[in-house]
């Protein structure tokens, strides 16, 4: 057999390429007439808000979608808070299969999700 062992470095290089791979998801809000999210009502760096958002993410967004270690967001660059908020609230709107969460979570709860996603990214 072509016996080979994966080295740690090789694994890391694979992960790095994954991080750089953004598929076709945009980083910023499109001019689509969506209701503006407005500014975040609290500090997105607040650890309590981040923790609340993480719990909500784990129960809502992780299983068979973004994963418990969401590669789409870890060290992600260039996202905008308002765009993330709108996407959670309105879903994929036909561009992706993501359901809308605006009728499920309050605005504050969605902002806590944004805080968590921001905490694991670089934006």
């Amino acid at each position: 057999m072509d016996i080979r062992k994966l080295t740690f470095a090789a694994l890391m290089s694979c992960m790095a390429s994954a991080m750089a791979f953004n598929a076709v998801l945009p980083d910023k809000a499109a001019e689509d007439g969506a209701t503006p999210a407005g500014p975040a009502p609290f500090d997105l760096a607040d650890p309590a808000r981040i923790k609340a958002g993480q719990g909500r993410f784990q129960s809502t967004c992780a299983d068979y979608c973004h994963g418990h270690k969401p590669a789409l967001f870890i060290e992600r660059e260039g996202l905008e808070a308002e765009y993330v908020f709108n996407t959670i609230r309105d879903g994929g709107k036909g561009a992706t299969p993501m359901p809308p969460w605006g009728e499920v979570f309050t605005q504050e709860e969605i902002w806590e999700l944004v805080a968590y996603i921001k905490s694991i990214g670089k934006w």
Partner: protein, 663 residues
């Protein structure tokens, strides 16, 4: 269920007693596989048994299992050089014939490998990646088929770009005289134009007598958020002569005007409704000359207002004469499907003795957690199946079926439907948090229809199962069926469409529980052993260890609660091998917009192969793998040793086969 302990599994003493009663009635049956060490079919044999007889695998030998070799797939370099061609997780399971392994890869590249020296004998590249990513989950090739007539030996492979290819098994070269220079374009010959980006051959075809019957995956629009088309690719089956590649019959799905079943599609919906295809592999009884087709849900998956009626042969098992394509019998498992409860795997064929009477039977495991058992000659139920009333849809324009079929035996092997009592209650805090999550959804018993409000309907089992494409294993000597299953609830929410083909389409999301744990009580996944002569469960044990070390429950010192995903299995006389599936996280859509793109987890928590006692379900041994399983297991013998082979990697990690020596 009285015999279940706190983890939802049978106590050990009860499992042993039940097994003794099995062995007293056991008799070797005609379908027992030959003990030659070959794994000639994707599912082990044409009966879908996932079983290899004979060998020296024992309770003792599996205590010292070890990784014997690893083999890297040839398409790793392609996606590493071109991020647009990232594959899905590696689901490619090899065949083993007389010491040679034949392996497919996510991009359907085919290799022959000498099982003794490890040398790659040949590789064939169909270049199925030239036009881009295949639909749904992108590049997937679950395996190959093998056919031989004397010295004429062939490997058959389906590709992500819609071709069925016949190769010379000795050289890896296409058989020029077959089809169109060795291949058949499966997008052609259907009733309408089919866009190549919407179909793929992911499951290996089956050869039944002289006829080859390929499966065809069709884009599930909801899976990628793409607007459904009015004329979606249909679920037709085309069959071909194995020697020439010439088409021998065409089974139209939905049935067209004048054909049986056409009357179950109202308002001419049979003209345009698509899917209801067979993406899973069929089974075949060459003695009876019948091929058994497991069909899927029609478009669109969650709203049937545009296809009123039961919709035959959606979500049906259909037995066709393999030579002519004529219907021998059919049974619809879900009427007017609204849950994406596709029949996910080949039916298991088995020769039973029920109440003293011999029955050539077929058992279909389902995503919703049932085993439907029929006489495979006639289609008559082995045990009574009752039509029972189910909750009705209130979505405008929808007309859900008033009843659905419920088998009286065997009992369901997984949680069906949702009540508050089902919620995780390992600690009071977890229960309270779980109640809050549940309150976001509409919920009820099995077949609770999709809804438009809140976060939609909490569907249990979810769209992935229950049982899944991992299927079930069957020992023809004991007639015990081993069914892996799991519970991942899905939130299915319908949204009103103001333009486009449908009034409503569905969105989906896997639903987790509190603090990253599952929403419902353990076990989160199981394998259930069922005596198919009586229809009674023998034992059920958790599949894998699962999150017992999670901070919220580690103080409970639970033994095994099951990995909350599907598990892959392969069966020997004494040992059932089981590998829980790894995890991945979705990154987005392919640039073609037809497939999800994902990243497999590199530091998987439980990348193990487990060996279970077939009699009790007890864990006899385990070995840590270099990555978690993503495809079906197989086992074979070569050079006096027996191996279990596990597909790992893909989706951003190198795709490999890992062989574990087990004797």
């Amino acid at each position: 269920m009285a015999m279940l302990n706190s983890a939802g599994a049978f106590p050990r003493a009860a499992r042993k007693t039940l097994w003794l009663s099995i062995m007293l009635g056991a008799a070797p049956l005609a379908m027992a596989a030959a003990g030659d060490g070959n794994w000639t079919e994707y599912n082990g044999d044409k009966a879908g048994s996932r079983y290899l007889a004979g060998g020296k695998v024992s309770a003792q030998s599996v205590k010292s299992m070890k990784v014997a070799w690893r083999w890297a797939m040839p398409d790793n370099k392609i996606w590493q050089d071109n991020a647009e061609l990232r594959t899905w997780v590696n689901q490619s399971t090899p065949l083993a014939i007389d010491g040679i392994l034949y392996s497919s890869s996510p991009m359907a590249m085919v290799s022959a490998i000498d099982g003794k020296t490890g040398k790659t004998l040949w590789t064939y590249d169909p270049k199925a990646y030239i036009e881009g990513t295949p639909p749904n989950l992108g590049f997937i090739s679950r395996g190959l088929s093998y056919w031989a007539d004397g010295e004429d030996k062939r490997i058959l492979v389906g590709t992500g770009d819609g071709y069925l290819i016949a190769l010379n098994a000795k050289t890896g070269k296409p058989i020029e005289s077959w089809g169109d220079k060795g291949r058949i374009d499966m997008t052609k010959g259907l009733r309408r134009f089919v866009d190549r980006s919407l179909v793929a051959l992911t499951s290996p075809p089956i050869v039944c007598g002289n006829t080859i019957v390929p499966s065809l995956a069709v884009l599930d629009s909801f899976a990628v958020g793409r607007a459904p088309m009015k004329s979606h690719p249909p679920g037709d089956i085309q069959a071909f002569d194995i020697r020439s590649g010439k088409r021998v019959w065409h089974f139209e799905q939905p049935p067209q005007e004048g054909q049986p079943g056409n009357e179950t599609w109202e308002d001419g919906s049979w003209k345009t409704t698509g899917s209801a295809n067979m993406w899973a592999r069929p089974s075949c009884d060459e003695e009876l000359g019948l091929v058994y087709l497991p069909f899927s849900t029609p478009t669109n998956d969650f709203y049937g207002g545009h296809r009123k009626g039961n919709g035959l042969f959606g979500e049906s098992v259909v037995a066709l004469n393999a030579k002519t394509g004529k219907i021998a019998w059919y049974q619809q498992i879900v009427h007017h499907g609204l849950w994406d409860y596709d029949l996910p795997t080949a039916p298991n064929l088995m020769d039973l003795t029920v109440n003293g009477k011999k029955v050539k039977a077929l058992a279909q495991v389902t995503k919703q957690g049932f085993v439907f058992t029929f006489d495979r000659s006639t289609g008559q139920p082995v045990w009574p199946i009752t039509e029972k009333p189910v909750p009705q849809s209130t979505v405008p324009g929808e007309r859900s079926s008033l009843t659905q079929p419920f088998p009286s035996l065997p009992a369901p092997f997984v949680q069906q439907g949702v009540t508050e009592d089902d919620l995780i209650d390992l600690t009071p805090q977890l229960k309270e948090e779980a109640k809050k999550i549940l309150s976001r959804y509409n919920y009820g018993p099995l077949y609770y229809p999709p809804t438009t409000d809140k976060a939609g309907t909490l569907q249990v089992p979810g769209v992935l199962g229950g049982a899944s494409w991992a299927g079930a294993a069957h020992n023809p000597k004991t007639n015990v069926l081993y069914v892996p299953s799991f519970t991942i609830p899905f939130g299915i929410k319908l949204k009103k469409e103001n333009e486009g083909v449908y009034d409503y389409t569905g969105t989906w999301a896997g639903v987790g529980g509190p603090q990253g744990l599952p929403l419902f009580k353990p076990p989160f996944s199981t394998v259930t052993a069922i005596d198919m002569n009586t229809g009674k469960h023998l034992w059920r044990v958790p599949a894998g260890k699962g999150p017992v070390d999670h901070p919220a429950i580690k103080d409970l010192k639970l033994d095994r609660v099951g990995v909350p995903r599907e598990s892959f299995i392969a069966l020997t006389d004494d040992v059932l091998f089981l590998a829980p599936e790894g995890t991945n996280s979705v990154l987005g859509l392919s640039s073609r917009g037809n497939a999800l793109i994902t990243q497999a987890t590199a530091d998987e928590k439980e990348p193990f192969l487990y060996a279970h006692d077939v009699r009790t379900g007890d864990v006899l041994g385990e070995v840590k793998l270099p990555g978690a399983a993503f495809g079906a297991l197989m086992t074979y013998r070569a050079g006096g040793k027996q191996y279990v082979v596990v597909p790992i990697g893909g989706a951003g990690l190198p795709a490999e086969l890992v062989a574990v020596q087990v004797d």
